[in-house]
């Protein structure tokens, strides 16, 4: 959980973790542990195994809700197909809107569609930057549930958010804290 005031660098940190920004110093590494075997990879590969949810929704307004998710499912590697997509839409209460062009959806609905992407392509690392923007309380709970399931399934989530969600963070990082300066 990343906490901090605006401008303290939460988005920058998340983008660096995702591999968009090359750190000036140091490395981003992630470690996969399967049945006792450890596998460490560098940040450039994190981008291939993460879901990044930023300020923008990541949906095309001229595709229907279903088509949007179908594309992400194919592109981000699951390639599974219909069943997952419908389940994802249902989870975020968008199943009734599946055949509607995404451009007609409200802000909250678009946000939910963008978040539904998390469900159509399984990836172990989730990097979420203020995911609850435009969401009402009910949807925020749905998201919290989704994140909890992800964590139970062995995934990692790094989230920056103002809204309290019913998730027990493993660690909290406060950004923007100023060490008390010695008086001149």
């Amino acid at each position: 959980m990343l906490i901090g005031p605006n401008g303290s660098g939460k988005s920058t940190l998340l983008r660096t973790l995702a591999g968009y920004i090359r750190p000036a110093e140091g490395h981003v590494r992630w470690c996969r542990q399967t049945a006792g075997e450890k596998e460490i990879s560098e940040s450039s590969e994190v981008s291939e195994v993460c879901h990044f949810v930023g300020h923008l929704d990541g949906i095309k307004t001229h595709l229907t809700a279903f088509e949007n998710l179908q594309f992400w499912s194919e592109y981000l590697g699951a390639g599974d197909g219909g069943a997952d997509i419908e389940a994802a839409l249902e989870r975020f209460s968008l199943d009734a809107l599946a055949t509607i062009p995404a451009g007609y959806l409200s802000a909250g609905q678009k946000r939910r569609l963008g978040l539904a992407r998390l469900l159509v392509a399984p990836r172990p690392i989730w990097l979420l930057d203020e995911p609850t923007v435009s969401l009402d309380a009910a949807s925020t709970d749905v998201l919290a549930g989704v994140i909890n399931e992800h964590l139970k399934g062995g995934g990692i989530t790094v989230a920056a958010t103002h809204i309290p969600m019913h998730i027990e963070p493993l660690a909290t990082l406060r950004l923007g804290v100023v060490a008390p300066e010695a008086t001149a």
Binding site: P5, G7, S8, G176, V177, V178, P180, E181
Partner: protein, 252 residues
């Protein structure tokens, strides 16, 4: 043992080094250009072109510099993107306007030189056309850099454009030459026939060397200015950072 570029990578050391070197280069440039022009003007006029051939002493070095400076920019860009040399961007940024200026000078002097021969101020021959397109490449570099406020991003994107340009440049030159063999069998701006007399060659080489040193002097000076400008900006940004931190602390 460090190479020269490595040793100069430190801006402070560069400032010291260039500061000491600059007066010598400037003096040498002035000297060479003066000698070259003196010899050039005292040589007999060309039997074909008369007095106007003297423009060659400015045109040819300018044209050569137009190309050479782009190479300098390309090398600097490569140094920035591949080696992350700290002064690479300073070098590239300083060189672009200089390159554009010398290219423009080459175009104008080329046009003036050709006027008595062609009757017009411009022909679309291979060499002039290539230099004109080179001028556009310089303008593109300046326009791209000016359009971006983020200086780091601007430096890297301009570097990419410069490298794309240097790869395209031979292709462009080849295509323009190709087009010209189709339309215009004759070539222009031939200096004094197939061989250049010694009396014309020496002053030409002198002015060419002088102009090159002139560019070096101007380039170093522009780099120094750029380093100073960045220092000022860094100080200003530090001020902003201090105020921001103070505000964060106050919010605690």
């Amino acid at each position: 043992m460090q190479t020269l570029t490595q040793r100069l990578a430190n801006p402070t050391r560069f400032m010291e080094f260039s500061g000491r070197l600059l007066p010598w280069i400037s003096a040498a440039a002035a000297l060479l250009i003066a000698c070259g022009l003196y010899l050039g003007f005292s040589a007999p006029p060309d039997y074909q072109q008369g007095e106007t051939v003297r423009i060659m002493y400015i045109h040819v070095p300018s044209a050569w510099l137009a190309m050479a400076i782009y190479s300098v920019i390309a090398i600097s860009s490569f140094g920035l993107l591949v080696f992350r040399h700290p002064l690479a961007d300073v070098s590239a940024k300083a060189a672009v306007p200089l390159g554009a200026a010398f290219t423009l000078l080459a175009l104008v002097t080329g046009s003036l030189w050709g006027r008595p021969m062609w009757g017009t101020y411009w022909v679309w021959d291979a060499r002039l056309t290539s230099v004109l397109i080179l001028f556009f490449l310089y303008l593109g570099l300046m326009a791209l850099r000016a359009s971006l406020e983020d200086e780091t991003l601007a430096s890297k994107l301009t570097a990419i454009l410069a490298l794309v340009g240097i790869v395209m440049l031979p292709i462009i030159k080849f295509s323009v030459d190709f087009a010209n063999t189709l339309h215009q069998p004759s070539s222009v701006l031939r200096v004094g026939g197939p061989t250049i007399e010694a009396s014309l060659l020496t002053p030409l080489l002198l002015t060419a060397a002088g102009f090159t040193l002139l560019f070096s002097a101007m380039h170093l000076k522009a780099m120094r200015n750029e380093i100073l400008r960045r220092r000022v900006k860094a100080l200003q940004l530090a001020e902003v950072e201090r105020a921001h931190t103070a505000q964060l602390a106050a919010a605690e």
